[in-house]
């Protein structure tokens, strides 16, 4: 199936430690993605972004000198960009706009703006009932989900560490990855790294880097006249489950399930059709729970699924082929870069890390504390 909408351009901003401003990085990402598509800002009538300011899309439109007929600044953390693909697809199909740029950029490493707590406005319930106990946000939530999952199914930290070990193997193949030259790591390296919020160590946690990216969407009809192989939006789905640490009854049950079910149903595919899987890996457990929730295995089986090199380069389930948030880049909201890598894999542009013959890719974002979950199914339209 197709939605009739395609991604026609994709690009990263500078990554890592840039010394640049948010809008400077945003501009890099947007103009590079448009150049990749063979389009210009004059073609853009839709803008979706977050993380610029209170009025994110408004701010970016002003900065770029664009007067959009459609914008979206849904703030849902790292999954917002997969949600934007759904919204943009609907807006293009409905005729409200023709050409949408979805973008994000952060300078959090250069600006040293990342905090471990103090994230709640004083008027939300979490400020009264949760923050007083000093959980790390978001690390302690993912840590508690890990504890619950390992306890439920009898898995080990060593098994979970494979997510980080495999991500590093991919990063060694990606010159743009922050850890490209850092060498391989072992499960023991992950376990022996400094503890952050048990059982998660620093090596279970994503990088804190600058970076950003952008993708350009337009109708599939128009996409066929542009320079790149169109990447069709085949399906999408999302779930929003919680802001509180205590809303979700069972932390061992992944919230990704409904999002994946909806996306795969819309696309008319099953997990067996997926050639490349790009899932949010803010923490090792984030990726593991997402893979399980998307239905690549049954409940309690993901730690066995990811073993034996299956998610490493050359494995049967290529996962986070750019090196992921764990070893490539994590600018705070990583979801747009899931899309960029999925597009590049489907176009066959990934060099040493290219998954041969990739036709179907899934990008799955997660935001907050397993709060939001959004899946996009993409297919090469050769």
């Amino acid at each position: 199936m197709t939605t009739g909408v395609a991604i026609v351009g994709a690009a990263e901003s500078d990554l890592g430690m840039t010394g640049r401003s948010i809008l400077g990085l945003q501009t890099q990402a947007v103009t590079r993605a448009l150049a990749d598509a063979g389009l210009t800002l004059a073609d853009v009538d839709g803008i979706a972004t977050t993380g610029v300011g209170r009025f994110s899309a408004t701010q970016l439109a002003d900065h770029l000198g664009v007067v959009p007929t459609w914008t979206d600044s849904t703030f849902a953390g790292g999954s917002a960009f997969e949600m934007f693909v759904a919204r943009a697809t609907q807006a293009i199909r409905d005729g409200q706009c023709t050409t949408v740029v979805i973008s994000f950029a952060s300078n959090q490493r250069s600006a040293r703006s990342r905090r471990l707590g103090g994230v709640f406005e004083p008027w939300v319930p979490e400020a009264q009932f949760e923050e007083p106990y000093d959980p790390l946000y978001p690390a302690s939530y993912y840590a508690m989900a890990t504890q619950a999952y390992l306890h439920r199914y009898g898995g080990t930290r060593e098994q979970l560490a494979e997510v980080a070990v495999a991500a590093r193997e991919w990063a060694l193949l990606n010159p743009a990855a922050f850890r490209h030259e850092a060498g391989s790591i072992t499960a023991a390296d992950v376990l022996d790294a400094p503890m952050v919020s048990s059982p998660l160590t620093v090596a279970d946690c994503c990088l804190v880097t600058d970076g950003g990216g952008a993708v350009v969407l337009t109708s599939l009809d128009r996409a066929r006249d542009l320079r790149r192989t169109p990447v069709e939006v085949l399906g999408y789905g999302e779930r929003t489950t919680n802001t509180s640490f205590t809303t979700v009854d069972d932390l061992a049950v992944p919230g990704a399930a409904g999002a994946g079910t909806d996306a795969f149903r819309r696309a008319g595919i099953t997990v067996a059709d997926v050639d490349v899987l790009e899932v949010y890996d803010s923490f090792t457990i984030t990726a593991a729970l997402s893979i399980e929730g998307l239905g690549f295995c049954g409940p309690g089986e993901v730690l066995d699924l990811i073993a034996d090199g299956r998610i490493r380069p050359g494995g049967a389930l290529p996962l986070n082929t750019n090196g992921g948030g764990l070893s490539y880049c994590h600018p705070g909201q990583y979801g747009v870069l899931l899309l960029v890598e999925a597009v590049r894999q489907l176009r066959g542009e990934c060099g040493d890390r290219q998954v041969a013959g990739a036709e179907i890719a899934v990008a799955h974002g997660t935001g907050g504390i397993l709060s939001t979950h959004a899946t996009v199914v993409l297919g090469a339209a050769r």
């Binding site: 008027w123 106990y133 959980p135 508690m144 504890q147 205590t246």
Partner: protein, 135 residues
């Protein structure tokens, strides 16, 4: 526990009764007398049936079990000592609270409420392992 909580925001009209009870070290959850649903934190409606007019704070036993937990090794604010244990405790009555425990537990351990007083007279519920004395 050598823990001095940070500043806790003031109660609002939804949460005032919950905080008032903490001054007497009474733990409550919000109950809907229309449908019997229990919830925490307090809200302006019942998430079970949508009713807005039959919500009361109801005393609970103070007993619960450890749902899951983490030992935090990095301080999210200055003046907080690490490591410390943050946990989700499932009250015997059902609702889940985020809280602190004095030491690393096992999932499923029985725990009982205790209190850490705040400078303004309110108190934060924390939990200790249930002993024969407290059960």
């Amino acid at each position: 526990m050598t823990w001095i909580p940070g500043e806790v925001p003031p109660a609002d009209e939804m949460t005032a009764d919950w905080w008032e009870a903490t001054r007497e070290h009474r733990l409550t959850v919000q109950a809907c007398t229309a449908c019997g649903h229990l919830q925490h934190p307090p809200r302006a409606l019942c998430t079970g049936c949508g009713d807005t007019d039959h919500l009361v704070q109801q005393a609970v036993s103070g007993g619960g079990t450890v749902d899951t937990y983490t030992v935090v090794h990095r301080a999210p604010r200055p003046d907080v000592e690490t490591p410390y244990v943050v946990a989700r405790v499932r009250l015997d009555e059902g609702p889940i609270l985020l809280t602190r425990l004095p030491s690393e537990p096992s999932i499923g351990d029985d725990v009982t409420v205790a209190w850490v007083d705040l400078p303004d007279g309110r108190a934060l519920p924390v939990f200790n392992p249930t002993t024969e004395e407290t059960s």
